[in-house]
Symmetry: D3
Subunit: 171 residues, 6 copies
């Protein structure tokens, strides 16, 4: 069975990690969509799709069995909800079920006749992109909120410096 899961992964954090751990306990193959792939270099979306592919790829290595399969697919926005499911379907390998907690994602896939499974929430206070980006900008400790391989990727691309420079309005 193949599942679909989508996130923006700005950055990939332990909340995503726990959800994917659960999904891999139920299915053998997962297509992970990287949403808003065209976005980068903003406070809300600091990382490029390519950088996020690296984060997801390395982190997922920690939670899946060798026999399990993952496809990581960047998905540009189409800006029309009525076309979005067709867009996802055309860009990804066939999947049988969607895992999501996003009301719009759930609604759109259900309207299109897909099976959707609700995912659990894990420590939503801290495991949340907004909180992690806030800490990066303010210079607080964020490294405990993401898997270790993601810390490595962000260091390799000097990501904290990027988000701090973009956030800078001090002049």
């Amino acid at each position: 069975m193949r599942a679909f899961f989508i996130g923006r992964f700005q950055p990939y954090h332990l909340g995503h990690h726990e959800v994917l751990r659960e999904i891999f306990s139920e299915v053998d193959e997962v297509v992970i969509g990287i949403g808003s792939a065209q976005e980068s270099h903003t406070v809300e979306n600091p990382f490029t799709a390519g950088e996020r592919i690296m984060m997801v790829d390395r982190a997922v290595g920690e939670i899946k069995n060798p026999g399990q399969k993952v496809y990581i697919v960047p998905l540009e926005d189409v800006y029309r909800n009525s076309l979005w499911v067709s867009h996802v379907v055309s860009m990804t390998p066939y999947f049988d079920v969607i895992y999501s907690n996003n009301p719009l994602v759930i609604r759109l896939f259900r309207e299109a006749g897909f099976e959707v499974r609700r995912t659990r929430m894990f420590n939503r206070m801290e495991y949340h992109g907004t909180e992690i980006r806030r800490r990066m900008i303010s210079g607080e400790r964020w490294e405990d909120l993401v898997p270790e391989p993601v810390v490595d990727v962000i260091e390799e691309i000097d990501g904290v410096r990027r988000i701090r420079e973009i956030a800078n309005t001090d002049f």
Copy 2:
């Protein structure tokens, strides 16, 4: 070292296969871009990006070592050559070198300061997407021109029937 290679893969065939075999003999990681990802359901571009991900993924399993890594990334056209390299770079993991035989790809990456390596040609008469699609439409034998896993994918999606129906103008 990580390399970038791009094709439309309509479908993935033995020409691609031999080029990638050579690339994997030289580098450890390859980013394979699926060009014109937004195209499908035409005689020139019958297969969706998702279907082409399946073809590439299964075929590459035949030629790379377990220790080697492949990233498969669908790339929508941006319709502006001057933006294309930036588009590719933003959508893919960082790479050190490009392998290509396409004059425009070579020129654009070289103008942007990248190292580009020319690839060899393998039986260009037969190992060519146009020829394979022509055979699919006319009912000739095409299966010998693609790796076996690609035959499987095209059968699973009933791909020959799709291209023949679209090509049909006989009424």
Copy 3:
């Protein structure tokens, strides 16, 4: 004489109804543009253009004479004000006059040399899309604020459930 009137119709309500009743008392033919036609499945724009065509079509049947003519035309946004009048003109049958109360619509058509007539406001407190959508989401009574045929359309498409699901952030 042919008039042009535009609205988003999310949903069509009694405010639109009264304005159109006035317009039909002055002209014989009306082109009704459905604005932001590409939008759907959001709290602000829950209904598709096709669903809104149904609402407008059935409601207008209540207020026009058999000899009067209506054209209902979905209009996608062009995201450039300086092109918008040309866009509308190209997508619609020729018209002689615009009815509107929207400052931007008035300004753009006047700059382009068209005659624009101000419309009256009817009970703007209640006859307003925002208020009606708020009631749908909160489970209050909204059916008195739209013409009866619009209630029918929204029921046929199970529209209240859609907006409530999309608005749901309770998890």
Copy 4:
């Protein structure tokens, strides 16, 4: 029962007329999509969507009963076949069946699970947009190949002069 039929209508001609006459003999309501709505002022697509709405609207008046219903909806191209059915569905009132002779339209709707009915061909030599536009440009008689109300619309907009001027390369 509601049917969907699409054409570019450059211009609406007797071939379209006979097909629609057949459709109206089988169903009560027809949604007529005006394809490539964004195109105009070229030799292939001389008329705007608004002008084509006029042609279709007046011509259809000749062939449907008073109790039958027609919706005329301009449809801009989306340039991605995999999104096209979702685009059409979002822009139009719900329909039960598609009438078409276009292989791509047939394939795309069938892949999406719709019922498609093949339409008959009527004097395809003469009742064809290309032939009619050729006659307009060369100054030959084209008026017998379209319904009379379409002749009126083309005269009102001085349409023959437009296509001849655009086609002019004699300088």
Copy 5:
């Protein structure tokens, strides 16, 4: 040496003027990009790119020497930060250095390997587009905050009336 400077110029004001005066004291040629060129007829972006070309052109005549050169280039948004530098480079004559105080502009050009120089701020309270547009709308005196030739352009196009009409929600 040739420099690049970008602004939205809604409208061109004395803050831009002082920065450009400094730039012209350091380099011989300046490419001035008119950002968000596609925007017009909103409270935030009232003037078209063409109108802003006029403002910049006439104002710059006051501060550059006859031997110095200016290129004024409207730049439409590309809505993807990762493509923006390539977009600017393709649309403009070659330049050696960028002058800017915008964190995103600085970051994007530096990431692309360009030299960027910080500009000084001049009376940021008053010399600011938002403040000037606010005064235009409220009927206060704004003419002292822009160079005299800009007052002339805005009068020629009746620009204050435009922004006031668009801002009007009083009905």
Copy 6:
């Protein structure tokens, strides 16, 4: 009086030069639009908009008086003829008259109510972009067909090598 003239300028050649010489003999100010500004790095459109700005700017210096004024404005395609005039108008300083020999340009501006003046043709055999690009690719002498400053620009950007590399299909 201000005139508008548009070309693709791939490259700017003596045909353009003679037409502009005539225009400058009739009017004081000319807005020169650089058409298909987004195109570059193809055999049909080898040069970027920025490179073409350089060609036009330097060449026009040869034919206008010091008291005459030129505005050079890159214009991206909008892919919809019905919006094109509004696009041009929004991106350029106001103009009173259009000079053109292109049937579509003439038709679109006349339909919008503008005065259009036909330009003469000068040695259309040789002074033609297609012929000049053909000579560049084949290694023949092209330098006599463009003004001298254009030769300089093309040498500075190593333009002949670019078009030859892109045209290369010899492998």
